[in-house]
Symmetry: none
Subunit: 359 residues, 2 copies
DNA sequence: GGCAGAGATGAATCAATTA
DNA sequence: GTAATTGATTCATCTCTGC
């Protein structure tokens, strides 16, 4: 795994190339497969200009069954290539996302969320025959129901979202203007280029710096560009050499962020563990000291081994808190207070002192 | 078809009852099937209270295959029962919506849109392990790709949406408070009651007054209540007699809107535009409610799509205000009042409420 | 009566590590 | 493998209680 080549664009059929990659070698997959749009004839705007639709050969499949078979193949290979803490992201619209989602479930993946990309500037429905199709859907899935660990930077996203949990609906503008890559003829280089902001959020949410991100439908390389910018490694697969060329050039021009700028809000789960007894060892608390519950009406005495005793009851800070509150569980660190000259203070503050001293 | 019994709740297994209905006898189907949630053990909130989860037997299936088989059966019957200009609406979450969507496509239906119900007040993810699951998905489909005619009140929806095309993402609050039906024990009568505003919009979009709406998973009858209110006929199928009893009582209490209030905007050119449909949708105003001008000597009635009518005149809140005042323009939001126990109050206050609820 | 604060609750696939 | 231990974790809204 250490000799896996990354930051590389592999040109070829996505299933064939996927087969050449080793088992459990990547941390995340982002896939933006053909949507199998099944368009009818040309569509004209009210001013009679023609809508530049996705009518490329790579988006044509003979039937739902053919599309399903194709998707199940690449999804199977992606599952093999993902390591056991990895996850996959797939994007689609109502044309294909139900096929994708059902395949993902059938292959043993476990869906974690579906995410809505709300487009702030969608193309209107010119004929007035349906609702403006103003969103696309992403599916985020782990490798299996049994997989308990997957990267999710919960606290980073919460901070991003003004200290409220990030929701399953995200709003971004379409990829237009400067960001939209044009060919020499001034026309868009790829019909379905995704906004880099979307990939930025996906990578921020579900990878860590240095992780390897695989994109089996690389196109003009939005995933690679966002990965490089965010200090993630990437592997792209693309069949069309023209798209690949655009992607290579684009990614080359990306300047990665400085490592210190890649720091995100850390999870408390990841912080070093401190035993309550260490506070006694460090002399921050002494055997015999009295701790109080938040409202102050219950108390307990600290014993030399870091256990607490209150009347006939005793146990760890957590266990005794739960017992006294008659609750199924209790976080003793946030529950217990100790007396200071300025009133009661949480023992969690003492833990922070110990942690600071550990660095 | 003329002797089809409507405004009726049929108690029994949904597939068996569906089989008893004649071909091509209904204009729309709205289906809120079991989601097959596959929950694990209990979930505790941070305050150690238990989440009241959907753990009913009716939501349990032995496998995806069993769930698929069930859905394909009722979806097949629904397609048979729909007339040739009919359409179907199905609601689900990421647990089941991919199965539903794939089945809908496989059975020959033609997807017209997928619609996102963005919840303004979703339940958080208490453990911080995923994104807040803040939406559900509706699928709207015609009977076949070849079907060219289906009811879609484009202009009414556009009027509803402040003269902009209605998009595929809709924001509504959960069904709580007064609207949420409680049993004698004070607990919710049904675990998954949908907000009536959601049904209001669906029915307004895809049916006409007098149309027959079939709901094969009637539950506590939100579809029937919204249908009756909007002057649509309904047929409900529900297996559980207890739910059925609640539904019957609920629908009996609904007062239908007067037929003249169910008029919606016709062709774009023929009628002026409207702008405040969300208030009607939210139940802050009802079709038939009377609005007054600042001095109180002029009045107008609210229609289901948010347009106003006053004598021979009708139009948006802005246009009708201008007409009645013989002014070149008028801000309807500050012009119109509605009656409260404490006298007249500006509709702009209601807009503020809707806005607050949507953030 | 009005307002502040506490409590309840909604379709939820909801922990990780050590013994 | 299972069992016990540690300890991390919530948003918007509506109802109820108390002053």
């Amino acid at each position: 795994m250490t000799d896996l080549k990354t930051d590389i664009l592999l040109i070829g059929d996505c299933i064939e190339v996927l087969r050449s990659l080793p088992d459990k070698s990547v941390d995340m997959v982002f896939a933006d497969p053909p949507y199998n749009l099944q368009l009818g004839g040309d569509l004209l705007r009210p001013d009679n200009s023609k809508v530049d639709a996705v009518d490329d050969e790579w988006d044509k499949f003979s039937s739902f069954a053919a599309y399903d078979a194709f998707c199940r193949e690449w999804l199977t290979e992606c599952r093999r290539v993902l390591n056991d803490e990895g996850s996959i992201w797939v994007i689609g619209s109502y044309h294909n996302v139900f096929r994708l989602g059902a395949a993902i479930q059938d292959l043993g993946y476990w869906v974690l969320n579906d995410i809505i990309w709300r487009k702030s500037n969608p193309m209107p429905n010119f004929k007035g025959t349906r609702f403006t199709n103003a969103h696309e859907t992403l599916i985020w899935a782990a490798k299996s129901r049994e997989q308990k660990r997957y990267t999710f930077n919960y606290d980073a996203l919460k901070a991003f979202n003004e200290d409220t949990q990030m929701r399953s609906d995200w709003t971004f503008a379409l990829c237009t203007g400067e960001e939209r890559i044009k060919g020499e003829d001034g026309k868009k280089a790829h019909p379905t280029q995704k906004p880099e902001a979307l990939l930025h959020r996906v990578l921020l949410a579900a990878t860590r710096p240095g992780d390897v991100v695989l994109d089996p439908f690389f196109g003009t390389g939005t995933t690679g560009a966002a990965a490089k910018r965010l200090g993630r490694r990437w592997i792209g697969i693309e069949r069309d050499p023209d798209y690949a060329k655009v992607a290579e050039k684009r990614i080359k021009a990306v300047r990665p962020a400085a490592p210190e700028d890649l720091m995100v809000m850390g999870s408390k789960k990841a912080e070093p563990k401190v035993a309550f007894g260490a506070l006694v060892e460090a002399g921050l608390l002494s055997p015999g000291d009295v701790l109080y519950c938040p409202k102050g009406e219950r108390e307990a005495r600290v014993r030399a081994d870091g256990s607490l005793v209150s009347g006939a009851l005793s146990g760890s800070i957590h266990k005794l808190g739960a017992l006294l509150e008659n609750a199924p569980a209790c976080n003793g660190w946030t529950y217990w207070r100790f007396r200071t000259d300025n009133g009661l203070r949480s023992i969690d503050a003492l833990r922070a002192e110990v942690r600071a001293g550990m660095q």
